[in-house]
């Protein structure tokens, strides 16, 4: 079993590496570099940046060298635990991201939990009562979340929040807690701001989860062991919950890994609209400003989060599904 997890971990590391390359590539894709966009910014504010100045900047930022050189420099930094300087924020990348990363995780996880709370029962119900009215209604609700463009939904909720409840506009904290020290009060303030983003994000993922649960369960429901269980004289509820559902949960658990990036991606858009201090808006800005270390690090971190998510789900899977334990050990 340990060997198995070890193997998965190795794979994860490989994946992370691959992502780091991809991340770096992604950032290099757009034309120009940070200096170009910096000059553009200056220019649009009526300030002059001459070619010589630009050249200087490029040298100072170590741009201009071939991409792979830059990549290896970056890698070396990272290995030393230094993710480099954000060109736009003129601070170490780690500081810039800082709290935002955790807020991202919090928002995502909140959404994830919500997703399950909705998806599991609905999925089970609509599998057991396939084609019943309930099945339709349940899946319908699930799909609405998927179908509504979440950026629009977010904006509308934002506005309604202001009109109806005079709520603080956007963000995850009230101004007074914006950069206060962590405290019970601050956590509570965060909790109060969490529902809207969580709902918007959660809903988007629910349909997918419902479908997975439903399909798995439909699959299991046809297995002979269900008949066996029934023929023992168990009550229907117990038959369903103790056997097929239990088995159907396994593939479900394995989706954690894939749900996480889905939600994190979604969180970027929603964060933008709701102005959440997550890495989402930061990433978008960084990509536009071509602030490569910042953008690169964020993409990398998101990737790592995903890999970790996958790893966790693998481990969970091993724990709850003895079969794998057998095969793998």
């Amino acid at each position: 079993m340990l060997a198995y997890i070890g193997r998965r971990a190795l794979l994860g590391i490989f994946t992370v590496w691959a992502i780091s390359v991809l991340a770096f590539a992604i950032i290099q894709l757009p034309p120009g570099d940070y200096v170009t966009s910096y000059i553009a910014q200056m220019a649009s504010m009526g300030s002059v940046v001459t070619d010589e100045e630009a050249q200087n900047l490029r040298i100072q930022y170590g741009l201009g060298q071939p991409i792979y050189v830059q990549y290896f420099k970056w890698m070396r930094l990272i290995v030393q635990g230094n993710f480099g300087m954000s060109m736009e924020w003129r601070r170490p990348v780690t500081e810039v991201i800082g709290e935002r990363l955790w807020l991202t995780v919090i928002v995502s996880v909140a959404a994830l939990i919500l997703t399950w709370v909705l998806a599991l029962p609905i999925g089970i119900y609509s599998a057991v009562r396939q084609y019943s009215v309930g099945d339709y209604v349940a899946t319908f609700i699930g799909f609405i979340g998927l179908a509504v463009p979440n950026f629009l939904l977010a904006l509308v909720l934002l506005y309604l929040g202001f009109v109806l409840f005079n709520a603080h506009i956007g963000g995850l904290f009230s101004p007074e807690f914006q950069d206060a020290e962590w405290s019970g009060a601050r956590a509570w303030d965060l909790a109060k701001h969490l529902p809207i983003p969580a709902v918007i994000l959660g809903l988007a993922g629910t349909a997918q989860q419902i479908r997975i649960m439903r399909a798995n369960l439909l699959d299991e429901l046809r297995k002979p062991y269900v008949v066996t269980a029934r023929s023992k004289g168990l009550s229907e509820a117990r038959v369903i919950l103790r056997y097929p559902v239990r088995v159907a949960l396994n593939p479900f658990a394995s989706t954690i890994g894939y749900t996480l990036p889905y939600i994190v991606s979604g969180s970027i858009i929603v964060s933008l609209v709701l102005g959440l201090p997550t890495v989402g808006p930061l990433l978008l800005k960084a990509l536009i400003a071509q602030d490569m270390f910042l953008a690169g690090t964020i993409v990398l971190l998101l990737g790592v989060m995903t890999v970790i998510g996958t790893l966790i789900s693998d481990i969970v899977l091993v724990l709850i599904d003895p079969r794998i334990r057998l095969e793998e050990t």
Binding site: P30, P31, G32, T36, S37, I39, A40, Q41, M42, A43, S44, M45, G46, S47, V48, V49, T50, D51, E52, E53, Q55, N56, Q60, Y61, G62, N82, M85, S86, E88, W89, R90, R91, P92, V96, L155, L158, Y159, F162, N166, H168, I169, G170, G171, P175, Q178, D179, S271, L272, V273, L274, G275, L276, P277, P281, K285, I288, A289, Q290
Partner: protein, 683 residues
């Protein structure tokens, strides 16, 4: 319909009659014209603002200070206010009343790229000279006075005695010398000398006369210097410190980061420690007014939490040299908190919700109705500050475009440019995107502006006249049209297609407007392609001379001489260009680039000349420049004197000394020109 149906129908009819009446009223109002409408709306008041008192007789005899500072003085942590301010305070007569101390000014900003936000509100303004509230007259500011010598070849700058940096160290001529010798002249920090320090391309020098006197010396007369010091130029004070500019810098503090003073090894260590890639990066970061809380400043507020954090906070500078006529040290407001807003919609909605005490930057004109609607709820009032510049939106012809000779040829044909200008239905655009608050206009600045050539130029080639436009184009030899009614190229290479480059996400919705113009130009048989690009690309293309038409605004052009880049080809790094080759020609004094056509050349000559002549002549030259610009239509003016860029002002009702209208211009650092240091909270 059933009987049941009737009653509601009659009711409907009645309500319709009422509504019809309303409409009648509205239409008449509309007829009365935009201005009348503004007046009615009461959103645009009369231009007003605080004044700098220069007559020592009117100076306050005693000085007061904010309570918390007084407490510190009592505690012995701070010298008495008189010592801190010095013998020659910068006295400002508040707009309406003497204010009360205290309060926090809540506002929003969009991230580290948004430093202008803080410059405008809170940097003092810390120019040596600065504009009065009309934006026309240059007044002493940090400097006590500026004295011309030697026919404009030298200028004596008199500093205020006893004036101090925010850390209590004296502000003296040495800070100018340090800047000039060790920053400005250091090739690593400043690879290219600034045009602001030069006259006719010849660099000037700065030297110390005595502790409180500095001399600027130039090889040729530099009459423009006062305006240059007042405007948002490279000599505009600490705000451009992040680029090594400013005209002065806190020598006593910065020396420790300068290789000349700190040992190379020592400096190297510091750089490593601070994780910078080079000492230059670090030095510039340390000299960044918005980024470095330790940097000694002269502005009314100083940064305490830097711009690269979720909240950019500034607090009163205890050594601020600004005082009101009653002798109260300014600013009145204790702190300014700019909270990071991840996007503009959130920022605007927060303003709507009254979460900001004063907001104009990033406030979207398109949301004006929403702001007005929520005035009560948000406890704020909406003001409009139309700019003085002629173009909230302008369209530049790239006169050097040569990728397609045919197109290039037409761009260099005055009548072609004029015809296109006549093909734009400005009223439509004004109504749609300025909600009728702008003025259809050529590029010339507001009538009040001292360089305005005269009322007749406002509408020159700036009215809708499809018939005339078509005639002109036909005459030019573009009479042939294709099946869809578009004009064909003279070289027989099919339809005459022109492309306009726009930027998204700006104060003005250039792309959408351009789309509207595309529709309008159909009527004159011109096929316009709208190409929205993002900034860095726009820049690349203009520099590479790949742009055909470019949409932008000419804000700043009301200060024609300190902000020329939207008047004629002056700047390579522009998001919209009138001709990169002309720029090269202009700056290389004819050595490189392409020689402009006579009238353009004339315009450029006049501009250059103006720096070396007394104000009277300069004003005349300015008028001439605008005349040429208007007649030749190198740049199409679309809508001008509108509030589109930072002209929609949302201010809490409890804020005092708020002008009902202020001079809106980047050169005036609006609202800096209204001296935010005199704003205060009534309760």
């Amino acid at each position: 319909m059933t009987d049941l149906g009737r009653t509601p129908r009659t009711r409907q009819r009645r309500s319709r009659i009422v509504m019809a009446l309303v409409v009648g009223l509205l239409t008449t109002v509309l007829a009365a014209g935009a201005l009348a409408q503004m007046a009615k709306s009461g959103l645009i008041g009369k231009l007003e603002g605080p004044e700098v008192v220069t007559d020592p007789a009117k100076f306050p005899k005693t000085l007061n200070e904010a309570p918390q500072l007084a407490a510190l003085v009592k505690a012995g942590k701070l010298p008495p206010v008189a010592e801190r301010v010095g013998q020659d305070p910068l006295v400002i007569k508040p707009l309406r009343e003497i204010g009360r101390y205290g309060g926090t000014w809540r506002a929003g900003f969009t991230g580290p790229a948004d430093f202008w936000n803080g410059f405008r509100c809170c940097s003092g303004p810390d120019h040596l000279m600065f504009w009065d509230y009309t934006g026309d007259k240059v007044m002493p500011n940090l400097a006590r006075g500026l004295e011309m010598q030697d026919g404009g070849r030298a200028w004596l700058l008199h500093l205020r005695r006893g004036m101090k940096w925010s850390d209590g160290k004296p502000f003296t001529a040495d800070d100018f010398v340090f800047w000039f010798e060790d920053i400005y002249r250091n090739k690593d920090l400043i690879p290219t000398p600034s045009a602001a320090m030069a006259i006719n391309g010849k660099q000037g020098t700065i030297e110390k006369v005595d502790t409180h006197t500095v001399r600027f010396k130039f090889p040729e007369p530099y009459y423009m210097l006062p305006d240059v010091l007042a405007g948002s130029t490279d000599l505009a004070g600490q705000m451009f410190g992040y680029r090594g500019m400013g005209g002065f810098a806190p020598a006593h503090y910065l020396k420790q980061f300068h290789p000349k003073y700190a040992g190379a090894a020592e400096l190297d260590r510091k750089v490593k420690e601070a994780k910078f890639d080079s000492w230059v990066r670090m030095f510039l970061a340390k000299n960044d007014w918005a980024l470095n809380p330790d940097l000694p400043v002269l502005s009314a507020w100083k940064t305490v939490t830097p711009i690269n954090t979720p909240t950019w906070t500034l607090e009163r500078n205890p050594y601020s040299v600004f005082v009101d006529t009653a002798g109260n040290q300014l600013p009145y407001i204790d702190r300014v908190v700019l909270a990071l807003a991840e996007n503009l919609e959130v920022l605007n909605l927060r303003a709507v919700a009254g979460e900001y005490d004063y907001a104009s930057r990033h406030v979207d004109l398109g949301k004006l109705p929403v702001f007005i609607e929520n005035q009560q709820k948000g406890g704020y009032k909406v003001y409009l500050d139309p700019g003085d510049y002629g173009g909230d939106m302008i369209i530049k012809f790239n006169l050097n475009y040569d990728a397609d000779p045919e197109i290039g040829k037409w761009f260099n044909t005055a009548d072609f440019r004029r015809a296109l200008a006549l093909g734009i239905d400005r009223d439509q655009i004004n109504e749609t995107f300025w909600l009728g608050t702008g003025t259809p206009s050529s590029v010339v600045p507001a009538d009040g502006n001292k360089y305005n050539p005269g009322p007749q130029y406002r509408k020159m080639w700036a009215t809708l006249d499809v018939k005339k436009a078509n005639e002109m184009l036909d005459k030019l030899g573009l009479a042939k049209k294709d099946g869809d009614g578009y004009r064909l190229r003279a070289d027989g290479k099919g339809r005459l297609r022109i492309e306009i480059m726009t930027l998204g996400g700006q104060f003005v919705q250039y792309t959408q407007i351009a789309e509207m113009i595309r529709e309008q130009w159909k009527k004159i048989g011109i096929d316009l392609t709208v190409q929205e690009v993002e900034r860095s690309l726009a820049l690349k293309r203009t520099a590479a001379n790949e742009q055909q038409l470019g949409a932008w605004n000419n804000d700043g052009s009301e200060h024609l001489f300190t902000f020329p880049l939207h008047v004629f080809p002056f700047e390579l790094a522009a998001v919209a260009t009138s001709g990169p080759l002309y720029v090269k020609w202009f700056h290389s004094a004819g050595a490189q680039g392409k020689e402009p056509e006579p009238r353009m050349k004339e315009l450029m000559e006049k501009w250059k000349k103006a720096f070396g002549v007394p104000e009277k002549e300069r004003i005349q030259l300015g008028k001439d420049i605008w005349k040429i610009a208007a007649e030749e239509v190198y740049i199409i003016g679309v809508i001008g004197m509108g509030p589109a860029s930072m002209g929609v002002r949302v201010v809490k009702n409890n804020m005092g000394n708020i002008p009902s209208r202020q001079y809106n211009s980047p050169d005036g650092k609006t609202p800096g020109i209204s001296r935010p240091a005199t704003f205060f909270y009534k309760n």
